[in-house]
């Protein structure tokens, strides 16, 4: 945890941003909810527990900044809000999601699985892949 925050701090400094107390509190909330898919409002409410004087705008700004630095990925599951998902450190690509149509749960697949598909796309469509988004919609193991 602390080492992770330290690395994010360095990453911020390398772009001449500071790790302010508000930003640190926000990052801590994200780390403590690594498996969840929190909206900005969700993050705001959780950060307020430790840092009640923080403003909603600051949370939005911090999430935007972390997205820029590729610490988190901004993702949209089709309900009306953006959700922020901590990226695996050092992962080349964003991980995949399993969205259950029954219970609404969102599970993660950390393995890439797309190597072959991406090779094919790169050659046949002459497209240089930088990243991807893959979501499966269906019935989760709990609902079956």
């Amino acid at each position: 945890m602390e080492q992770r925050i330290d690395r994010i701090k360095k990453q911020l400094h390398s772009q001449s941003y500071k790790l302010t107390p508000q930003r640190e509190a926000t990052v801590r909330v994200l780390l403590e909810h690594e498996d969840d898919h929190l909206s900005a409002e969700d993050v705001y409410m959780l950060v307020k527990e430790k840092y009640p004087e923080i403003g909603l705008a600051t949370v939005y700004r911090t999430l935007e900044l972390l997205t820029e630095l590729k610490v988190v990925d901004k993702i949209n599951f089709g309900d009306g809000v953006s959700r922020y998902d901590l990226r695996q450190e050092g992962a080349a690509h964003f991980h995949h999601h399993l969205v259950c149509l029954e219970c609404g749960s969102v599970d993660e697949i950390q393995e890439d699985l797309l190597d072959d598909v991406e090779k094919e796309v790169e050659t046949r469509w002459n497209f240089e892949i930088k990243d991807h988004r893959l979501t499966f919609h269906g019935i989760c193991h709990r609902c079956k």
Copy 2:
């Protein structure tokens, strides 16, 4: 074109919906822009050219209805709007997209490519896949 509209008409009737003039005008616009990825506002402006008295709410309602019937797919590329994409008739799964980070273009991949990956996900994660969304972000063939 006419046959396609006829099949959509039957699909509507089978759920006891009618193909009103407004709905038909909207469907025609979608068919005429099959390769584009139009927002509700885009569709509204295009429909107005043929049917100026249509209201924006009706366009939203029609797009919602067509999404329900799986005639179109609602998709979100991360700019603030939903876009509506005509589905290939009879396709089991939604097609894939190539989004260029340089020029913003969105190209389509109609081939499935995911058969093997889906088999693996179904068995290893015990998840019954109904549909998917796959988007690649990178540099398109024109920008290279």
